[in-house]
Symmetry: C2
Subunit: 426 residues, 2 copies
Amino acid sequence: MTEIATLAPAIDAESLIADMGRRARAAAAILALAPTDQKATALKAAARALRASAATILDANAQDVARGEANGLSGAMIDRLKLDPKRLEGVATGLEAVAGLTDPVGQIIDETKRPNGLLLQRVRVPLGVVGIIYESRPNVTADAGALSMMAGNACILRGGSEAIDTSRAIHACLVDGLDEAGLPADAIQLVPTTDRAAVGAMLRAAGLIDIIIPRGGKSLVARVQEEARVPVLAHLDGICHSYVDKAADPAKAEALVVNAKMRRTGICGATETLLIDRDFADPGRILAALLNTGCELRGTSEVRALDPRVKPAMAEDWDTEYLDAICSVALVDGVEGAMAHIARHSSAHTDAIITEDVATAERFLNGVDSAIVMHNASTQFADGGEFGLGAEIGISTGRMHARGPVALEGLTTYKWIVRGTGQTRP
Amino acid sequence: MTEIATLAPAIDAESLIADMGRRARAAAAILALAPTDQKATALKAAARALRASAATILDANAQDVARGEANGLSGAMIDRLKLDPKRLEGVATGLEAVAGLTDPVGQIIDETKRPNGLLLQRVRVPLGVVGIIYESRPNVTADAGALSMMAGNACILRGGSEAIDTSRAIHACLVDGLDEAGLPADAIQLVPTTDRAAVGAMLRAAGLIDIIIPRGGKSLVARVQEEARVPVLAHLDGICHSYVDKAADPAKAEALVVNAKMRRTGICGATETLLIDRDFADPGRILAALLNTGCELRGTSEVRALDPRVKPAMAEDWDTEYLDAICSVALVDGVEGAMAHIARHSSAHTDAIITEDVATAERFLNGVDSAIVMHNASTQFADGGEFGLGAEIGISTGRMHARGPVALEGLTTYKWIVRGTGQTRP
C-alpha cells in the first residue's frame, strides 16, 4: 500500500485508471460467477479484519483528523471524518449485514417459451465495474465496496483526500476479506493517489468503468454529472415537498410535516417546501408546530398573514434545498395546484401528499413524476434501509436504469439466455 | 406542415429543439396517464389514416426516390427508401400490432409491506421524452413513433433527409390518429428541418430529452454515442459468434451455422465469426457447408489446412462486422478457448454455443458477458419479434437500463409508491 502510494505521483492519472480498470475488468469476470457464499465469506472476514485492526484504523483516522484540524476543516467536516470504536463497530456490522442480503445475481427476471420451442430467460448479472467517487466519510469505503462486491461487481473507489489514511486502513481489511475467501484483491481497488486528475480520468473511462456513483456534496455531484462520459447514478438535489390536502387529518398532518422537515434536516429526503391546500381548515396549526420546533418559515404574503413569524419567501426559495431548519411554504388550489408547483420545482426525489381522500391521493401518486411518491408518510422514509433493501449505495433521480434508493439489484443488469434444441430462423 | 418547414430555416436548431422538447414534456405528462385503450385507439386510427392516404404517401415517396436517384444514392439505399402498396400495408398492420401489445405502464413490478405498515410498490412509468434519430427507412417514423407512444412517452423523431417527404406524410397520419383519440399532437413530433444541426441540438438536450435512440448505420450510431449528453440506447456493432463444441451434433451444427451466418447476412444478429473446438470431429463439414452456400471464409492457417478454399484471416478480421457473406473462422481449445476469444472480440450483442453437453452449455451461458447468449439456436433469432416482444425499437449492447432487444418495457422506468397511514420516521 505504502509502496503504491509512493509510486503514484510518478504515474499519470489516465494510465493509472486504465491499469486499475483493466485489473477490475479481469476481477469482475471472476466476481460475476462467484457463488453467494463466497462473497458473503469475504465480507464476514473483512468485518473480522476490521475489528482486529481497530487500533490501526483509529490511529490512521487520528492522523486524518489532526491533518483536517490543521487545515481548518469545519467542525461538521471533522465530525463526518471521525471514527470512534462505536462507529467502527457500526462499519463492521454493516459489512455483515450486506453479507446477509439476498444475492440478485442469477435471479431469473422472467422466462417465456416461444412457439418454436426456444426457452428465453432474462437473468440478472452484475453491471461490471463500478466507480465510486466520495468525500470525507471513510465508512463509504466499506459500505460501497461491500455492496458493489456482493452484487458481483468489481469497484474502483476514489475517496476524498481528507480521509485517505482511514480509507486505506479500511480498504486493507476489505482486501484481507477477499484474500481469505479466495476472491481477487482487484475486486475492490482504492485509487492510491489523492490527485484530483484521477477523478477526471475515471469520469472519462468509458469502456473501463461501467457506471460512476458520486457520494458527497452538491459540487461533487454536479462536477461528475457535467464531465462524465460514463453513465452516472446519482441525485443532485433533494427538493422534497409535503402537500397538506383539504381532506388531511389535522393531527396526522402536523405530525407528518414536523417529522418530514425536522427529524433530520440535513438528509436528502427532508421536506424543503410545504404546500397547503387553500381549503385546509387549520393551516395555522401546521405553521405553529413547525415554528415551535425552531424551524424558520419563508412564505408568500398569504402564508405570512396566517402567522407573523413567517418571513417572506423569495423566488429562489422554491428551488432551494436548505438541508437546514428552514422551510418554504405556499398555499395552493387543491391537489392540481400542488402538482403544478411540484412539476415546476421538484427535483424528482420524493414528494408526499397528506389526505384522507383516497381518490385525491391516487391522483397525486399517479400524477407526480418523481422517483418516490408518498401518501400519508414522512418524506424522511426515502432511504434504502427504510425501504427494506438492507442498505443503499445512493438515491437516483435519473430516469434510466434505477430510480430512488439503489442497493444490490440496482447494481445489476440482465442478460438474455436462449435455450434451443437446434432451431434455425426461417 | 409545409408552413413549419418553410419557417424552419429561420429558427436556430437549439431553439427549435428546445421548443419541441418543452411541448413534448407537456404532452408526455398527458400520455403518462392515458389509458391503454386511448393509446391503442390512436394507433388503430393512424393505421386507417395511413391506408386512406396511401396515394399521398406513395406520391411523397416517389419524390424522395426521384431525388435520391438524382443525387446518386446506391441501389441498396433506394431499396431501403422505397415504399410500395405492400410495404405500406405492412407499416399499417405494424401500427395495429403495437396497439395490441401489453401496456407496461402501471404494472406493479414488486411490492413489500414494511414492519411499520408502509406499503411500497415499484410501478412502471414511461421514460418521458424519447428522441429517435434515424436514416433512410421511412417506416421507422411509424414504428418508433408508435412504440414510444404506446409506452406512454412523447417522442421527437428526426428522420433522414433522403426520406423526409415520406416521413412527413406518414407523420401526418400519426397525428391524425392522436387527434382522433383525443391525445395531444405533440406526443409524436417530427423535426421539421433536415438541417444536421438539429441532430446536435437533440444530442445536447439533457433535461428536455430523456433518452436518444439512434437507428441507422455505424457512423450515425458512433456520432450519437460520441456526442450525446443524453443517455443513449443502441448498439454499435453486432460481432456475433457461433461456437461449435466437440460435443456438438454435427448435423445440427451444420444447420445452425449456415442459418446463423447466411439466412440474412446484413442484420446485426448474423454470425460474423465461427469458432470450432479443436476436438470437434468433422470441422471440414461445417466449412464445406458454408462455402457451398457462397460464403467466403477467412481463417487461420489451421483452418486453411482443412479446406484450401479458405482465405487467410488478418488480425482485423476478428473485430470486423462484415454484414456480408463473409465469415472469419478460428479453432479454439474447447469452451474456455471460445470464451477467451469472445471476451476479447465480441461486441456483446449475441453469442451462441452448439453442443449436446449441458454442463458445457451452462459454462458458456454463464461465462459469456453479452446481452444475448444462446445454446443450440441460431444467432439470427436476436430480434424483438422473435423474442415475443411484439416489436423492437432497437437492440442495446449497453449495460445500463436495457440490454438486448428493446420494446415497450425498455421504454419505461419505474417509480416507488409509498402508501402510509401517518407513519413518521423514528
